[in-house]
Amino acid sequence: MKKGIFRSGALTLALGAFIGAPIVTTSAFAEETFKVAVVSFLTGPAAGPFGEPGRHGAELLIDAINDGTMPAPYDSVGFGGVQIEGIFVDESGGNAKQVAEYRNLIEKQNVDAVIGYISSGSCMAIAPVAEELQTLTIMSVCGTPRLFEGNDWQYTFRTQAHAVADSVAAALYIRDQLGDVKSYTGINQNYAWGQDSWKFFDIAMQKLTPGSSGSDSPQFPKIFAGQYGTEISTLLLEDADLVHSSFWDGDIEAFVLQASVRGFFDKKRFISVAGASAVDNLGKRFPEGTVVGTRGEYGILVREQEGELNEWFIDTYRERYGVYPLESSYQYAQTVLALKAAMDKAAAESGGTPNEDQIIAAMKGLEFQSLAGNVSLALGNGHQAVHPIGYGITAWDEESNSPKLVDIRIYPTHCILPPVNQMSEAWLEAAMPGADC
């Protein structure tokens, strides 16, 4: 018995030493910089079209602001006078892994704030943990409106408008540009973003183009499925002349390639809510005449747009990474700008280095200038961004030998999003009161 206890003691101590050893190295870290974890897909099918461009967008802006090399109004050095140390983290592996990693970031690596997240699944999973660990967390890309509707988060913000805006803008564009759509169907991923996108698009179409009818069998393949043979067959058999899709990541590229060879785009009009990255990545293999959105004033939609910040961003980005900035590059950069604006504001108010509470107070309801437009954190009690969203039609520019968007229409905020304190679905069902567009 005695020996038993002795042995167990030795074992537990050894185990304790094993798991306790790294504490010494991490906890003694002096806090001279503001440590920000940037989470995006670094591996898997979403890394190429979304994760890496997003990471580059954040990296570029963090470096430029730390050095003070950005144009006005962001030309001061640092974030409220503080230098940001960015660490880049992978978003793959599922929600449970992301939650575990998030806990590690806060409790083990002692980061001060977390920005990023592309998948709506990640955002929904992270927000409750952000509250629990009381850490400023700013979402960059994810789109489900459920994040703030029905939840009153204190520590979570989102600098990207949600799926209602994308869906309503899509329906508006169809009404204004394509005109006579009799029936439509959709192919969307079977998770929060895809389900919401289709649902809102369907309601918006009913309200905006009352003569059209939605399919009763829209397709919902699994996210990252990669193979869409059966879905393409089903869609081709349907009468609907328009197909809606909120596919993003590698899925949109896979779908476009598989559908092209079957003549899909000759038979159907296709509207892609978030597939602009594929237009750049696939080049000539992306069909012309497709309606494409970038979920905001980002990427290919604003490539020709004038403005000091936008031109600086495109030039510096191309110089450093050799390619054009994509949608997610803008979205991640936008989050960094929000953080910069909030920390500058908090520093000016507090007269020194701002603490977390002061930054959060400064960020609530913040209005700031993004790279190619203005953003305002107007919804979700000052936590959820609103901004204009536009669509265009793909075309090939022979002169520069690169793709471009033509017939661009950008819809202002009040046309595509509910006013403060109204739930999206109720607002849509009531035929979008206040949005006379």
Partner: protein
């Protein structure tokens, strides 16, 4: 009388003592270590469930079924009834898994070897498919699980949950040790060695395996429930997919079948191995984890536990 009998069993006494020491250590370590240990111990409980089968020579490649059932039972219980009490959650997780295990047991008890492994894999992938397809069950997103309460009290820290996991671990380990020492438990190795002889002795092999299977399912279900509580999130890819089953088998091999305590040591070691591998090599951490398994199989075929069997004091005792 019972206590005396229990304390005479060296394994039991030292399991209880180690967990008691771990409970004290839990007060002193930072949160992330506490979290990692909780994840490890919860997985350890699931691996203990696998061990019950392994000792009979059965390997299940589908225990994520019960792990996921336990986890989703906790999440759905909260979603539809709002209950967040730790004991209710644990009981529901355990009962759900045990009930499903009992039903599937009628099919699985007739199969051995690769057929048993593949059939259990198939059942787990059925649940995975159902979860992925169904929006009401969260599809690929899963659900968040709110913080656990204890009889209406909402603790400030994770420590009470840590204690609950430790207590569950102790009860399970001691319970399994008693079971292995019982007549029914001794059938474990007998069934593995020669089923026909066991039948001639007057025992039903099918029934013995069925009981084991339900026990194993219940333990794994409880583990899934505790894991969901510790993490605060459930989703099919991290709870029900075949990779989770593979992970549990991996930890079984890492731990070794030597003792009821081995799964807990192996699972905690695995958890921290993975955390550090992930930090050290974000793009190649699987290589480190896989390399470790290879090393264990080559040099420690009876798992990490065989290191403890080689401790000098243990050998001394064996000489006595």
């Amino acid at each position: 009388m019972i206590i005396k009998a229990l304390s005479a069993d060296r394994t039991i006494s030292w399991v209880v003592a180690s967990f008691a020491i771990l409970a004290i250590v839990g007060l002193m370590v930072p949160n992330w270590v506490l979290n990692g240990t909780m994840f490890g111990l919860a997985r350890g409980l699931a691996v203990l469930g696998l061990l019950v089968l392994w000792r009979t020579g059965l390997v299940s490649f589908g225990h994520a079924l019960y792990f996921g059932l336990g986890a989703y039972a906790v999440a759905l219980l909260e979603k539809y009834t709002g209950v967040s009490d730790v004991f209710v959650r644990l009981a529901v997780a355990l009962a759900t898994a045990a009930a499903v295990g009992f039903m599937l047991g009628f099919v699985l008890r007739n199969h051995r070897g690769i057929f048993f492994a593949m059939l259990s894999l198939a059942f787990s992938m059925v649940l995975y498919g159902v979860l992925i397809k169904s929006e009401a069950l969260g599809s690929t997103d899963g659900f968040s699980v709110s913080q656990t309460t204890i009889l209406g009290w909402q603790p400030e820290t994770k420590y009470p949950l840590f204690l609950t996991i430790i207590l569950t671990g102790v009860v399970a380990a001691v319970g399994m040790q008693i079971y292995f020492r019982s007549a029914l438990g001794h059938l474990t190795t007998a069934v593995r060695d020669n089923e026909i002889r066991v039948e001639y002795l007057g025992y039903s092999v099918a029934q013995a395996i069925h009981i084991k299977y339900v026990l194993s399912a219940a333990l794994t279900g409880a583990a899934g429930g505790l894991f969901a509580m510790a993490l605060g999130q459930v989703d099919p890819d991290s709870m029900v997919n075949w990779t989770v089953s593979g992970e549990l088998v991996f930890i079984s091999i890492l731990s070794g079948p030597g003792s009821v305590a081995a799964p807990f040591i192996g699972a905690v070691a695995f958890e921290f191995l993975r955390t550090f591998a992930f930090e050290l090599a974000p793009h190649a951490w699987q290589l480190i984890v896989g390399g470790t398994l290879l090393g264990i199989i080559l040099f420690l075929p009876r798992g990490l536990w065989s290191l403890i069997e080689r401790l000098p004091m243990r050998q001394e005792r064996d000489r006595e």
